[in-house]
């Protein structure tokens, strides 16, 4: 960026104009970045109102999409400063500027503000316009609410409460359109419910970059449709179900699973790749029903990919590890946490220096990796994580499929190149130098330490969530928790430290890894440090250079940057 453009942007960022909204003066920036191109464009009335917490109802407008201006719900009245014959503003007796009210309303989403403009959102006329727009929208709406998945988070329902009439004046037959239209592998369309706002079209064209949707059959029977013969199947289709203000586009995965008002919403982070999209976990009675994206402009805006969104089913799987196990006479036997942790701590403590290897997944949280590091730091142990590289895309998907690779770097678990030391660990097991292997959340038999090699070990401690070839060979098996079952932080691919909250309880005896790691450290060193997660994070932030200056409280909902 040249200095000139930087200066210009600086200048435009501070330039504000004053507008009157419902009789009160507010300062708003003259321009704001366009949601797609990022260019500075004139601030619209709706942006000015929302910026100051003044509600203007809307359907087709979306803060992150280009404006279409077709639903007409955001109609407001406005006026401009009155000018005298000398082109100078006129003033009322009390010193306030005279406003010349426009005879016609405008849509707030597409009308830019001008200095001294007055916007009226609450006049009887404005309310009447909303009532009329809503009445038109409801004329052909099928009132499917009892069978519609959107019920409970439907804008049409919400505004019908605010601006709707109790009775319909419409006596004619409603227009019927196709229902249960299969748009693609993950999206089901109900054309009757569609209010033709075009949010989905704009999203998939301008954000996802796949111009797959459009309106056909213009007129009363206008329908949303995909390009003939080409299913709507890009990796971002489910975002259209989120932004659909009504129940026209619904997720096939969530379809008829649970009513949304039963879902407890927990702020969390997606773990499917290094991006770490902010999500909301919808759960009820310890079962996860859906992920939805949570807005974070520093990471994922309002979106997330379909793969990440649907990658939650393993959490509720039947074969989750539920028991603490210890191998006795060659066969795994059930034990309890206090016995297992005591013995594991003793075995680590009694191991000679250099005889311990650790493979800790980059799917563990920062705090857990930090505790793993503390557990073995005086034993000259070799530690590493497992790399998981895949393909990145143009929008959100990162090439690194581990959610916390940077955390593994920062805590010193993995060196610059993740997975480079696994071969060394395998070699040293072969040479008989490493006698104790600690594995957290990985199936090492698939990543360079063969199952036969595991037999050479004296002690194999494995913590995992689902059974695999490594857990089968464990001397001590410690059942862990998925991210939805615990609190913690991840450091994403760009070095942003983001926290996530606990949505559901872990199955059986499973415990969050940081809990039992803390206990192991406590047993081994008699100084386990902080025993609750926020304090543990703060302790880690003091100890780990990359996290200096961060605190659990200041991470807030959207995270903070680590200095990697």
């Amino acid at each position: 960026m040249t200095n000139v453009t930087a200066e210009r942007q600086e200048k435009s960022a501070v330039e504000t104009v004053s507008v009157w909204i419902d009789g009160q003066a507010y300062d708003v920036p003259k321009t704001m970045p366009h949601p797609v191109s990022g260019e500075q464009v004139g601030t619209t009335m709706i942006q000015a109102c929302h910026m100051h917490g003044i509600d203007v109802p809307y359907y087709c407008y979306h803060p992150k999409l280009p404006v279409a201006g077709n639903c007409r719900m955001c109609l407001v009245e406005f006026g401009t400063p009155a000018l005298g014959p000398d082109r100078q503003p006129l003033y009322n007796e009390d010193g306030s500027p005279q406003i010349r009210k426009s005879p016609r309303p405008v849509i707030a989403c597409a009308t830019p503000i001008s200095p001294g403009m007055a916007i009226y959102t609450q006049t009887p006329e404005a309310k009447q316009m909303r009532e009329s727009v809503l009445e038109f929208l409801l004329i052909n709406h099928p009132l499917d609410c009892p069978i519609c998945d959107q019920a409970g988070e439907c804008k049409l329902q919400e505004y019908a409460v605010d601006y709707g009439k109790a009775d319909s004046r419409f006596v004619e037959q409603k227009v019927h359109k196709p229902k249960q239209v299969d748009l693609g592998p993950r999206i089901m369309l109900d054309d009757e419910r569609c209010i033709l706002c075009s949010r989905c079209i704009r999203f998939t064209r301008d954000i996802a970059g796949d111009d797959a949707l459009g309106f056909a059959d213009r007129g009363s029977y206008s329908i949303l449709t995909n390009y003939p013969g080409k299913p709507f199947d890009n990796n971002y289709t489910l975002n259209t179900a989120d932004i659909c203000p009504v129940g026209a586009l619904t997720s096939k995965d969530f379809r008829f699973q649970m009513r949304v008002w039963f879902l407890k919403e927990t702020k969390s982070v997606c773990t499917s790749c290094g991006t770490g999209c902010n999500i909301m976990i919808g759960s009820r009675n310890d079962r996860i029903y859906r992920y939805t994206p949570r807005e974070n402009d520093a990471v994922n805006s309002c979106w997330m990919c379909d793969y990440g969104r649907l990658n939650y089913k393993w959490i509720n799987r039947e074969d989750r590890l539920r028991e603490v196990q210890q191998r006795r006479d060659g066969a795994p036997a059930k034990t309890n946490w206090s016995v297992a942790l005591k013995e594991v701590a003793e075995r680590i403590e009694s191991s000679p220096s250099g005889s311990i290897g650790v493979v800790a997944s980059a799917r563990l949280t920062n705090e857990e990796l930090y505790l793993v590091r503390r557990l073995v730091q005086d034993k000259d142990a070799i530690t590493d994580s497992v790399p998981r590289m895949g393909e990145a895309d143009h929008l959100l998907v990162d090439a690194d499929k581990n959610p916390n690779t940077n955390g593994a770097h920062a805590t010193g678990i993995a060196a610059k190149k993740v997975g480079a030391d696994i071969a060394t660990i395998a070699d040293r097991i072969r040479q008989g130098k490493i006698k104790t292997l600690l594995v957290f959340g990985e199936d090492v038999t698939k990543h360079g330490i063969e199952a036969d090699l595991l037999k050479e070990l004296d002690t194999l401690v494995v913590s995992d969530i689902l059974p695999n070839a490594t857990t089968e060979r464990a001397d001590y098996l410690l059942p862990g928790c998925a991210h939805a079952e615990k609190r913690g932080t991840f450091t994403n691919a760009k070095g942003r430290v983001q926290k996530f909250m606990k949505a559901i309880e872990g199955p059986g005896d499973a415990r969050p890894e940081w809990e039992f790691l803390h206990e192991l450290v406590q047993r081994k060193t008699h100084d386990g440090g902080s025993a609750n997660l926020p304090a543990l994070f703060n302790e880690m932030a003091e100890q780990v250079p990359a996290f200096h200056g961060l605190s659990w409280g200041e991470l807030k909902d959207t995270g903070a940057q680590a200095s990697l």
Binding site: A151, H176, K179, F256, Q257, R259
Partner: protein
């Protein structure tokens, strides 16, 4: 405070007048119509509008009226209702109604017969009927499942037939 005890008169001290007074009342009732009922041999005639146990109904064409909207589950004060929605598999038999509960359970031990479920139901699919004496040998037996609730609820004549009318309209317009 000291309570002044009333000194009893001779008649009161004798005790017998009070006995005879009581016997007189008993004797009078022996010749009156009986106020009690020989339950369970005899049964009470349940009045119209009585709020007994809630059951599910089918319409006159045998369709389960419940569409699994779960409003009754939401409104139920003692959380006696548990509905399992059908999930994404499209059932070709349900037509334009699309939804029908996979399972519907009412724990009759929890139910307080308040009638909120009937009041909130947008489909007129659940009614508080006349059963007031529910018995079972275990707690599990007192959780009525969908089949049992439908069998007990019987048929409710639906004069409007909202879904059927919608389907007819759509067919007239050449859709679906």
């Amino acid at each position: 405070m000291k309570v002044q005890r009333k000194t009893l008169s001779l008649a009161e001290k004798l005790y017998l007048p009070a006995i005879f007074k009581g016997l007189k009342i008993t004797l009078r009732h022996m010749f009156k119509k009986k106020a009690t009922m020989q339950y369970p041999e005899e049964h009470w005639v349940v009045p119209e509008g009585y709020r007994g146990a809630p059951y599910l109904v089918r319409d006159q064409h045998g369709r389960t009226k419940c569409v699994s909207c779960q409003l009754c589950e939401f409104v139920c004060p003692p959380k006696a209702i548990k509905i399992t929605p059908p999930g994404p598999q499209v059932n070709p038999n349900v037509g334009n109604v699309e939804k029908e509960p996979k399972e519907f359970e009412i724990d009759m031990l929890r139910c307080i017969f308040c009638g909120y479920c009937q009041e909130v139901c947008p489909e007129e699919a659940i009614f508080l009927m006349q059963d007031y004496s529910l018995t079972g040998e275990s707690r599990k037996e007192m959780v009525y499942d969908k089949e049992k609730l439908l069998a007990l609820g019987g048929v409710h004549n639906d004069p409007i037939e909202k879904w059927k009318r919608k389907e007819m309209e759509a067919r007239e317009q050449g859709v679906g």
